[in-house]
Each structure stands twice: as C-alpha cells, then as structure tokens.
Symmetry: D2
Subunit: 201 residues, 4 copies
C-alpha cells in the first residue's frame, strides 16, 4: 500500500492568488510522488477553519474535513510563508488545531499523530526560515509526529529583499537538493514507522 | 492631554467566554489608568479581521476600525495566550496586519508607529512567556514601536499544568509587580516620545 | 548489540556543583538503561571545549574527545538549563561544534549524524522549555539527527519562581511520564534506524 | 556631556581573525560617532569571560572589566553572528552575564540597566536575523534596557549561501539605511533617558 502525504499550505492568500508557499509545497510533493507516495494538498485559508484548540469548533468549521485528511496521512508537510521573520498566522492556527490531538487516540489506543512523519517547507523574501522550522517542528513533534533527518526545506532571499520564490527564473539548486533529501528521508522513516509502530509507553 | 493606551487582546475565544488573557490585559490597563492614561480594549477575534499584510483587506474586513484605534494610541499592549509554547495565531494575525505600517507615514512624514510604546502581556498554563515576549516585541519594534525597560508581564504555571490565570484564587504578587513596573516605564517613555519625537533619519 | 546513548549536559556550572540539568539527564538515562541502552554522560563545561564550528579547534580543545563519544552514540540527549527563557550558552556552544558535522561523512558516505536519534531535556525555574526544545531540535535535525515522537522532556516552575528541579521533594509525575515516553520512543526509532539506514539522496 | 556607546562583539573567532560581525558593529559605531557619541568596542571572545550568571565568577574572570564598560555606556550594541539560524554562543554567554544585573541597583536605587538603550547588529551567510534580534532584544529588555524604534540592523545572504558580509564588494544599501535609522533613534532615546530617568516603580 502506498504512503499518503498531505501538504497543509498556510499562505495568507486565498486561491486563486499565486503563492510561493504552494509552489515549494508542490515541489516537495513531486519529490514524494517520485517515491511512490500518494499526495494531497490543502490550502488552509480557502476553508473556513476557525480559531481554537479542539478537533471541531462547530458551526461550519472547516477543520474537521481537513483533519480527516491528516489522520489518513503518513507524511504531513506544513508549508508556510514567513512574515516578520516568523511563521504565518495561518500556520499557527493550523498547529493550534493539531494541538487537540494530544488527547486523541486511535483504535489501538495510541496518540493519533504517532506514526506520522513531519516535514516543513518555508518560503520568504529574505529571512526567517530556520526559526520557522524550529517553531513548527517543535509543535508537530509535541503532538506526536516524528522528524526524519533534515526535515525542512526552504528558500529566502538576501536581507530586506523583496523577490518572491514563485518569480525566480530558475529553481535554486540548493533548495532543490534540500527538498530532495527531506523527501527521501521522510519516505524512509514513514515506511519504517508504518511497519513498526511505537510501543505503548 | 492624557496618553491613550489600546489593548489588543488576542485570545482565540470570542466573547463572552472568559479569557485569562483579557484578565491580565485589564490589570495592565488598570495600572495605566492609575497614571492618568485613557484606556481602550479590543478583543480581536470578536471582529472580522482578515488574514493579510495590508491596512485594509476590503470586503468587510474588521481591521481598519481597529487600526484607527492603534493610530490614536500612545501605548499599544499586545496581550496573548500561549499555545504550544508560542504566541496565539490571533496575535500573529494582528502583528501581520501591523506589518503594513512599515510603508505608512503620518502627516509629518514619519513612520506611523514611531512615537508609540509597546507592551506585552502573556498568559499560559505552564510555559512559553519569554519566547512570546521575544516574538511580539521583535515584530512590534520592527514596525517602529519602542520598548521601555521591562516591557513584558506574564503568568505561567508549573510544567504541564492546566490551571488558568483567571481561576487563580489570588493574583500572583510577582506578576502584579511586573505589571506595575511595565506600566510605569511605558507611561514614562510614552510621555518622553510625545514631547520629543524621533528625528527623521 | 545494545544501543548507546550519550547525554551532553550543558549546565553552566563545573563539577562538582549540583546541577538540576544533570539530575534530569540522569533520569532520562535511567529510563534508557531500563530498555537495555548503554549510557554515558558528559558535563560539557568540565572539559576545555572551545568556541568554534569545526570538529577540532586545536591547541588542547576538549571537543574532539567528546565528539568521538557522539559518533559512537545511537541516541544523543542534549540536556540544558534555561537562562532568560533561552538555551544555555554551553548548549549553543555544543550545537555549534556539531554544526561541523554537516560536511562530515561516515565510511559509507552518509552524513555522520544520520542514523542518530535526538532527545532534549530542559530544566528551569519558571519558563522557557518549549522554546528550548524548538531551538535545540531544529539545530540537531539540521545536522542530521532524527526526532522520535515527543522527543523532549522538561520541568519548569511557576512564573518568576526560583525553585530548582534538584531541590523538589519529589519528582513531578508529569515530567516523569514525559521522560518515560520520550525514552521509549527514542529507543524504538534508534533500533529502526540501526537496522535500516536512510538511503543516500 | 557626550553619550557613550559600547559594542559587545560576539564573534566566535578571537582576534586578529577578520570578523563580519565586527565589520557591521564598526559601521553602527561610525553612525553613532557621527552624532557625537563616544564609542568603544569589546570583542568578548578575546577576554577570558567565564560561563555563569553572576557579576564576577572570580579567578581571573574577564567579565568584570567588560561590565564596568557596560555600566558606563548609554547605548549597548550587541553584535552577533548567526550560527544554525540562532545567536552565537558567545552572545548567549554575554547575555547570561548581564542577567546578573536583574538584582543590581545603582547609587540611586534603580536597576543598573535602566536608562541604557539596546541596539542589535546581526550578520550571517543566509538566514536567522529576525530571530536573533528577537532573542537578544528580549533578554536585554528583561534586564532593563530600552529599545528605540527599529533597534536592529542586519545582513544575511540568500538561502544556504556562504558569502560573508566582510567580503561583499560594497555595503548593501538596505543594511546601511537600517544601520543609520537604528543609530539615529537610539541616540534620540538615550538622550531622553539621560535627561529624564524612569521613575522608581
């Protein structure tokens, strides 16, 4: 059975606006697909996701439908732009919704996020990628996702620059290499964890 | 003319739910009022604020009305809960809207946020206050607010605890002292900057 | 063959001063030992480790001896106190030395840190654990270590408190549980990665 | 009486190695000198500063001599390189030593750091400036320094780049402008605080 990957794209801009974050997320998914992974992508801001820390905030909340995709995924890619050197608010909202999983268990009594592998993709004009990887990996790991070696890929331009990733003439080779490595490692780890789940502790 | 202070309360919960963040914000405002400051409070999530980095995202966006209050304030208090050890998504959304001020100037040609003093109030069950102060002060300072000595006040409980600030039997004396100091210093700095604006650079 | 774990204890205080950080590190090692892991501990500040980003800064540098232990370990525990809400300088110095591994490969041509599993243990009087986990996990993951689900354990007291972990009357049950979970998961992941190394990318 | 500024340069490399951090620090000092400020610079790693959180760790500790310069300064510039997207260990060590000032008061009974203005200068090959500004400003503000509008200046190159600031053919105009603005604002605030100290709270 193939692995499933889900990209949670956390741009602030609703579709159909072009998004550098979505461009990089799709590059990650393309690498994963090359390894036989079935891929899906959700642009979170297009759905009516509510602020909160429960699995369902009710009243038309868009999160439960996204959550079902998360539960089905073996690899969860959080893709976010950088604003003010920090993760986007939409990424923070998404992580807060995942915080609810701390008290959720699967049919086997394990935390719902155990067995899933986290990846992070970050784009910005100029600065902030490491810190965004730090913040998002910590939150995802807190709720039970694992991180394979070198789990993040990113692009940022020179200090105080304004070029967008989506407008680059060609894909930067270093980002491409980081994307490839992150994908290969995530696939390896996701397969290991599917075959051998964490024991109950 | 009295100084104006505005509290931007960034709880995830709409009114009328009780909010620990709002409780601490009101304590800060009470200290400021003791020094003759005129105070106002906005619970951001009650308004239809849109994700974005412009001053007005259009189509019923609730931010422009809040922005007018920010422009009128001498002291801006960002009050936020901690989720996953990090600032709440509503605080991040609010900061992203303030990011637009980087390219806005006042009648005298100065950046709109110059002359304003930032304060931060943070509450959580257990951990994360210093980092939230770091993240929010950096963003507020980036767009032009100044920080008086010891600009943050906070409360968190013991590791992995679940007590809420609003449910404490009595106000913790150390938080109360930090609140008082932050308020006294912010008032002092706001008065200095009102009387003597930053020169154009 | 048993797994090897190495604790890098990053207290600012040289031996024989008591260290809360070392107390928590030893609790993690005890859990690992219960699962058959061979454990070692280095108090970094006791050795003459130099500032730098190479594998050997020469002239009596204490790092190369510690580095050999890191290379032999399957599980690397970074244990650090919190100062000003942030990781201790000794932890940062240690991570900077590990940064050199980005360009080092093993006999099989793989990055030297691939195959190793990271754990983090954090103690402070009052605040900062999540952020310290974020900072340290990001850096360790950057250089190639993997993180099992819930890779961090910590203790902090109430806001602006001054109690030390080592002086608590009894071990806090929640920290104990987090330690146990982190250990079980790290052992599981380290065994998987020993049996099935990441492919070359 | 002219204002005094002190640059604490936190490169990992002892003199006489060239340091990009020192280059940017000297550019900040040159701007300050243009406004009549008397400037001094300390390369922390050249002195035998010990790990710790007291004002004097004894036994030849290099910090007390540096501390005297800090006490005499109206403007304190913390200049640090970025390693792994984070502040350098030498910067963290320096901040930890300043943490001792939380319990120190001057002749007038005020915290020793009140009245001082913080500036931050950050250089890296590729990423991390905002986060370093956040971490350092928070710590400096905690111990009582104030931050004028836009208190940080920085340079970083494109993602995963390796160019050093000191090797750039020409100074980047945006960094130069940020340096100038930060200097003008810091001088203005330092003068205000010298003439009108924070009241006791």
């Amino acid at each position: 059975m193939p692995l499933n990957a889900l990209a949670l794209v956390c741009t602030l801009k609703p579709s159909p606006a072009e998004s550098s974050t979505e461009v990089l997320a799709r590059e990650v998914l393309a690498e994963l697909a090359d390894h036989g992974v079935t891929c899906d992508l959700v642009r979170v801001v297009d759905h009516d996701v509510r602020f909160g820390v429960s699995t369902d905030e009710g009243d038309g909340d868009g999160w439960p439908a996204i959550r079902r995709k998360v539960l089905d995924a073996d690899i969860v890619l959080l893709a976010t732009p950088i604003w003010m050197g920090q993760p986007a608010s939409v990424a923070k909202m998404t992580l807060e919704r995942l915080d609810a999983e701390l008290s959720e268990t699967d049919a086997g009594g394990r935390p719902t996020m155990y067995g899933k592998v986290a990846m992070v993709a970050v784009v910005g004009n100029e600065d902030g990628a490491h810190r965004v990887v730090a913040d998002t990996l910590q939150a995802l790991n807190d709720v039970g996702l694992s991180a394979a070696a070198a789990a993040g890929t990113y692009w940022v331009g020179e200090a105080m620059g304004s070029t967008d990733y989506k407008d680059l003439d060609k894909r930067p080779e270093k980002t491409r290499a980081a994307t490839r490595t992150a994908a290969v490692n995530a696939v390896h780890l996701a397969r290991l964890l599917r075959d051998a789940a964490y024991p109950k502790s």
